[in-house]
Amino acid sequence: MVADIRPLAAVLVSAVAIVLIIASHRRPNLREGWSVVAALAKFGIIVSMLPAVIGGTVFEWSLYESTGIQFLEGIDFALRADPLGIFFALLASFLWIFTSFYATGYMRGLDEHAQTRFFASFAASLSTAVGIAFAANLVTIFVFYELLSLVTYPLVAHNEDDEARIAGRKYLTYTFFGGGVFLLAGTAMVYWLTSLVEGGPTLAFEAGGMEALAAAAQAEPVYAQAAFFLLIAGFGVKAALMPLHSWLADAMVAPTPVSGLLHAVAVVKSGAFGVARVILEVYGPGLIRDLPLDVPGIGEIGLNIPVAIVAAFTLTAASIIAMRKDHLKRRLAYSTTAQLSYIVLGLSMLHPYAIVGALFHIPAHAFAKLTLFFCAGAIHVETHTDYISEMAGIGKRMPLTMTAFTIGAAGMAGLPPIAGFVSKFYMLIGAGDVGGSYWLFAAALLLSAVLNIGYLWPVVYTAFFESEDRHDAKPLLEFPRGGVVQSYGDGSDDDHVATDGGERANGTEPTDTTETEDTVVDEEFEYAVDKYPSDHTGPDDVATDDQGDRVSSVNHHGDHDDHLTGGPPAAGWQRHSPFTESTWLMLAPIAVIATGAVVLGIGPDYAVFLELAIQIVEDVFGMPFEELSTVPFDELMTEVTE
C-alpha cells in the first residue's frame, strides 16, 4: 500500500473540467476542448499507475491520513488503485476520450440545446465513475454511487419534454432505491456485523473477502445473508438485473453518447463492478458458498445460487424482449440488460475461470456495445431514423457505420474474432468445470448467444441486404405474439390463398401501410432531414449558433415514440462513401472502438485487460492462475475461507 495522490487526481481531473466547461459556455470549441483535455489527462493519470499496479503495488489516498478529517466516525474516505479498480477506471477513461469527440459531433449535428449542461454532467459522470472504481470501502463507493445517479439525471432528462421527464423520474426512483435504500442499508449492516467481532468495525475491501465479516457471519448468519442480498440488490439496480431493469430502456431517451458511454459502460458497469466488489472483496467466494441458505424443498444452497439464477433469467428474458423492440436504441438497451447479466452470472458462479470471463466481459461488452450505440447515434444524426423497420437499405447510405455495427453485433453474440468470444469462452469453461446444476447456466449462456444473433442480425440484414422499396415483413415485430393464427379453410381468405403459400395478404399489408405513411410524412417533414444538412463542412459553423433556445426545435427530432421523423427520403437512400457519410468527429470514434473490440478479441493476452482480470482472480484466491485449474473447485473454496 503506497500513499499516492494519483487516485484522487484521477477522480478530480474531470471535476475541475466541470468548472472550466461551465466557465467557457460561450465558446463551444474551447468547452469541448476541456472535455478532451480532461479525458486525456484522466487516462494519462490512470495509465501512469498501471505498470506499478500490475507489478503488485496498490496506491492509496486517504482523507484521514492526508488531512486528518474523518469522514464518518470510524470510517475513512479513501481511494485505492488496486487491480480491480484500475481495471474499471482504465476502461471508462479510455472510452471517454473517444466519446468526447463523438459527443461533440453528435450534439452539434443535432444542434442540441443546453450543451454546456450536457458536457458538464458528462464530465461529472466520469469523475464519479472513476470514484466508484477507486473507492476503497463501502461508504466511499456509496458516496460516488449516489453522486453518479445524481449527475446522470440531467443527462437522462436532457430533452426537457414529458417523455424525458418521466424517464428521469423513473431513473431517479430506481437508482436511489438501489443506492440510498438497499446499498446504504447493506453498508450499515456490514458495519454493524463487523463491529460485533474482533478486527472490526470495518468496511474496507479486502481481496478474497473481509476477514471480520467472515467471522461475524459465523455468529449472525441470517443478518450476513440479508446484508449480502441488500448489497447485491443495491448494485443490481444499476446492473439492470431483473426485476430492477426497466429504467434502462426508458433512459434511452437521453442523447446517444449518454446511452453509449453511460448506459452501456460507465453507469451500468458500475453496478456490475459493485457486484464484483461485493462478491470478490466484501464477502469473498468462500464465505458466499459457505453461508448456507436453507431453501424449503431443495436444501441448503450457497448464497451465489439465487444471484446466478436471477442473472440467468435476466439474460434470457431480456434477449427475448429485445427481439420485439423496433426502436434500435431500446433493442440495444435490452441487449445491455442481457449482457450485464453475463457479468453477474460469471461472477456468481464463483469459479476462477468464470470470474476471469466475467471480468473480461466488462471491457469486451463495453467496446462492442459502445460501437453499436455510436452507430445508432450516427444513424440518428444523419437520417433521423430510430426504428429498425425504417432502416432497410441504409447500408449504402452509411457503409462504414453499418460495417462497424456488424462487428459490434458479432461481439454481442460472442463470435470468435471479437472480444465477446473470449469472455464467454472462459465463463463456459468455468461453468463446465463445476458441472452439476451449473450446466444450466452454461446452457443459458449458449442460448443467449443464439438469441443475440436473433435480434442483432436482422438489423445488419435489413441494412445491407434489403432496399427501401423491397423488404420483407418483420414477423417478430409486426405480427402478434405467437405468430398469426389463420386457418386455410377461412372463407374470406379463399381468393388470396396460393397453393405454395406465397404472397399472403396479411404478410404484405403492414409493409404497404408503413410505406404509404412514410411517403406522406416525408412530404410534410422533409426538412427533418434537410434542415440539418447531413454532411458537415466543419464544426465551426455550427458552433457559432446560439444553443440556448433550441427547446422548440428538439421536439421533432428527439428520441420519441413516433415514426414521423425517420426512414428513407422520398428518393431512397443516397449512396455515400465511407468517408462522406458523416462527420469525422463521429466516424473516427466508431472506427477506433470497433477496432478495439477486434483487437481485444484477437489478442486478449496483449491487451492489458485479461492480464488484469487474471491478476484480480489470483489475488482473490491467493495462488497463481495456472495452479487454479489443478485444484478441485470445492477445495479452492475452502482454501479461500481459511
Binding site: 482523507l63 464518518l72 445524481l150 432528462a157 421527464r165 436511489f176 440510498g180 442499508a185 454493524w192
Partner: protein, 532 residues
C-alpha cells in the same frame, strides 16, 4: 478562563435587552432595527464561537445565576450538546439578517421580535432548569406568534392564532408534566432531577409527567398528528421570517426534548419505563411517513417545505426513540447532527424560496418552472440543499441519516431502520418534484397551460408564438403577464447579500458532509456521560 462562564447569561440577556433598542431608538431615528439586530447577532455569534472553543477544549461551562446552589437556584449550562445548538441559533440568526436588509420585513418592531426570539431560543438551549425551560419556551413562542402575525393579510392572523392556541396548550402540557415530576422529586434542576427521578417513591407521577412532556413537545416539534399549526405558520409568516422560525423554533424544542430524555430522565430509566420507547419511536416513524405524504401533495413551495420539516423532525424523534430503546450512542449523535443539519438546510431552502418569491412572486411548485435558466445560482444552491435533505453524500443531511440509521441497525430495530432508509425515497419524492420543475420544465409551457387553446389547434409550437409574433389579444396579455412575473427582478431587486447567504448555506451543507467524524468526536464526552 476567567470570565468565560459569563458568556451563557450574556448570550441570553444581551438579545433580550437589545430587543428594546429598536423601539427606543425608533422614537428618534427610522430604520435602526436592522443595524441593532446585526450588531447584536454578530456579537452573539462571536460570543458563541468563543464559548464553543472553550467547551470543546476543556469541557462544559456552567454559570450559576446569583450564586444560589442548584437545588433551588438556576444554572445555565453550556455542554457539548447545547453549544452546538447555540452555534446554530446564533449563526442562522446572523445569516438571515443578510436577507432581511433588502428582502424585508422592515420596521423596528420586527427586529424587536427578532431579537426577543433569539434570546428565547438561546435560553432554551442553555438553561439547566426545567421550569426555566418553560419560561424560555413561552418567550420564544410569544415572539414567534408576533412574527407570524406580522405577515400580510388575514391568513397570517389566523395562522398566528392557530399557533397561539396550540402552542400555549403544548406549553401548558409541558408545565403540567414538570409539575408532576416536581411533586415526585421536589427539585427542578436537571442534574438534581437525574438523581432524584430514579429514587422517586411514586414512579407513576414520573410516568404521568413524562407523558405530558411527550405530548407537549410533540406539538412544539410539530409531530403528526399534532403538527397542524406548523404549515400555516411557516407559510403565512413573512418570507424573511420563515427561515428563522423553520430553522430554529422547532429545533430548539426538539433539542429540549432530547435534553430531557438523556439528561433529566436518563436513558436507562426511560428504557425501563413501560412503553416509553415504543411511544417515542411510533410518534417519530409515523411523522416521517405522514409528513412526507403531506409534503408530496402540496402545491405551495413553502408549505411543502413545512411538511418536510414534519418528516425530518420525525427522524430526530425516531432517533430519540432508538436512543431509549437501544441505548445507542450512535443514534444520539445522529439526532444531534440531524437537528443542526436540518436547521441549516431549512434556512437555506426557505431563504431560497423567499428570494424567488421576492423576485418573481413565484410561490407554487408550478411557478418554479424554468427557474434554473433565470436564476442559475439560486436554483443551483436550492438543488444542492434539496439533495442534501434527501441524504445524498457528501452533505450534512447524509451524515445525520447515516448515524441514525446505523443506530437503528445496531439496536436491531428493523422496522425503524426500514422507515429511516425508506425516508430517503420519500424525501426524494417531493425534492425531485421541485428540481424537475426548476431544471427540466421550460418556463412558458407550464405557466399558461390553458391559454394556448386558440393557437394549439394548428399544432404550432408554443415558444415561437410567444417570442416573435403573437397573433391574438390573448397572446399579448399572456406575454405581458409572463413578463410581469418574470421581469419582476427590475422592480424588486434582489441584493447580492440575499443570494450570497443562500450560496453560503449550500456550501456549508456540503462542507459539513465531511465533518461527520469531527462532530461525533466533539460530542464524544457528552455521549459517554449520558449513555452508559
Amino acid at each position: 478562563m476567567s470570565n468565560i462562564d459569563l458568556i451563557p447569561p450574556l448570550l441570553i440577556v444581551a438579545p433580550i435587552l437589545a430587543a428594546t433598542l429598536p423601539i427606543a431608538l425608533g422614537l428618534r431615528y427610522d430604520r435602526t432595527g436592522w443595524s441593532v439586530a446585526t450588531i447584536t447577532s454578530t456579537g452573539l455569534f462571536a460570543a458563541a464561537l468563543a464559548l464553543a472553543s472553550v467547551v470543546y477544549t476543556s469541557g462544559e461551562v456552567i454559570h450559576t445565576l446569583g450564586g444560589y446552589p442548584r437545588t433551588y437556584g438556576i444554572q445555565l449550562v453550556a455542554d457539548e450538546f447545547s453549544t452546538l445548538i447555540v452555534l446554530l441559533i446564533t449563526g442562522v440568526a446572523a445569516g438571515v439578517l443578510a436577507y432581511t436588509r433588502r428582502g424585508g420585513p422592515r420596521g423596528n418592531t420586527f427586529y424587536t421580535a427578532y431579537l426577543l426570539l433569539v434570546g428565547g431560543l438561546l435560553g432554551i438551549s442553555l438553561t439547566g432548569d426545567v421550569f426555566n425551560l418553560f419560561v424560555f419556551l413561552e418567550i420564544t413562542s410569544i415572539a414567534t406568534y408576533a412574527l407570524v402575525a406580522s405577515g400580510d393579510g388575514p391568513e397570517s392572523a389566523v395562522a398566528a392564532l392557530k399557533y397561539l392556541i396550540l402552542g400555549t396548550v403544548a406549553a401548558s402540557m409541558y408545565l403540567l408534566g414538570v409539575a408532576f415530576v416536581f411533586m415526585a422529586t421536589g427539585t427542578l434542576n436537571m442534574v438534581e432531577l437525574s438523581t432524584a427521578i430514579p429514587a422517586a417513591e411514586r414512579p407513576v407521577l414520573i410516568q404521568t409527567g413524562f407523558a405530558f412532556i411527550v405530548v407537549g413537545f410533540a406539538v412544539k416539534v410539530a409531530q403528526w398528528p399534532l403538527h397542524t399549526w406548523q404549515p400555516s405558520a411557516y407559510q403565512q409568516a413573512p418570507d424573511g421570517v420563515t427561515p428563522l422560525i423553520a430553522a430554529l423554533v422547532s429545533t430548539a424544542s426538539a433539542y429540549a426534548f432530547g435534553r430531557l430524555i438523556v439528561t433529566v430522565f436518563e436513558v436507562d430509566y426511560l428504557a425501563a419505563m413501560p412503553n416509553a420507547a415504543a411511544i417515542v419511536l411510533t410518534i417519530g416513524c409515523v411523522s416521517v411517513l405522514a409528513g412526507t405524504v403531506l409534503a408530496v401533495i402540496q402545491t405551495e413551495v413553502k408549505r411543502m417545505l413545512a411538511y418536510s420539516s414534519v418528516s425530518q423532525f420525525g427522524l430526530v424523534i425516531a432517533a430519540y426513540g432508538v436512543v431509549i430503546a437501544g441505548n445507542s450512542e450512535t443514534a444520539l449523535t445522529g439526532a444531534v447532527i440531524h437537528l443542526v443539519g436540518h436547521g441549516l438546510l431549512k434556512t437555506g431552502l426557505f431563504l431560497g424560496a423567499a428570494l424567488v418569491a421576492a423576485s418573481y412572486g413565484a410561490r407554487t411548485v408550478d411557478e418554479y418552472a424554468g427557474l434554473a435558466t433565470d436564476r442559475p445560482i439560486v436554483a443551483g444552491s436550492m438543488a444542492v440543499l434539496l439533495f442534501s435533505l434527501v441524504g445524498i453524500p457528501p452533505s450534512i443531511g447524509f451524515v445525520g441519516k447515516w448515524y441514525i440509521a446505523l443506530g437503528a441497525v445496531e439496536s436491531q430495530l428493523w422496522p425503524v431502520a426500514a422507515v429511516i432508509f425508506l425516508s430517503t425515497m420519500l424525501t426524494l419524492a417531493y425534492a425531485a418534484r421541485l428540481l424537475e420543475k426548476m431544471y427540466f420544465t421550460p418556463a412558458t409551457v407550464v405557466e399558461r397551460p390553458h391559454a394556448r387553446g386558440p393557437v394549439a389547434t394548428d399544432g404550432g409550437d408554443a415558444d415561437r408564438d410567444d417570442d416573435s409574433t403573437p397573433d391574438s389579444e390573448v397572446e399579448i396579455d399572456d406575454g405581458r403577464a409572463a413578463a410581469g412575473l418574470r421581469g419582476g427582478a427590475a422592480r424588486n431587486p434582489v441584493s447580492v447579500g440575499m443570494i450570497a447567504i443562500v450560496v453560503v448555506v449550500a456550501l456549508g451543507a456540503v462542507a459539513l458532509g465531511f465533518a461527520g467524524g469531527a462532530i461525533a468526536e466533539l460530542l464524544e464526552p457528552f455521549l459517554t456521560e449520558v449513555i452508559n
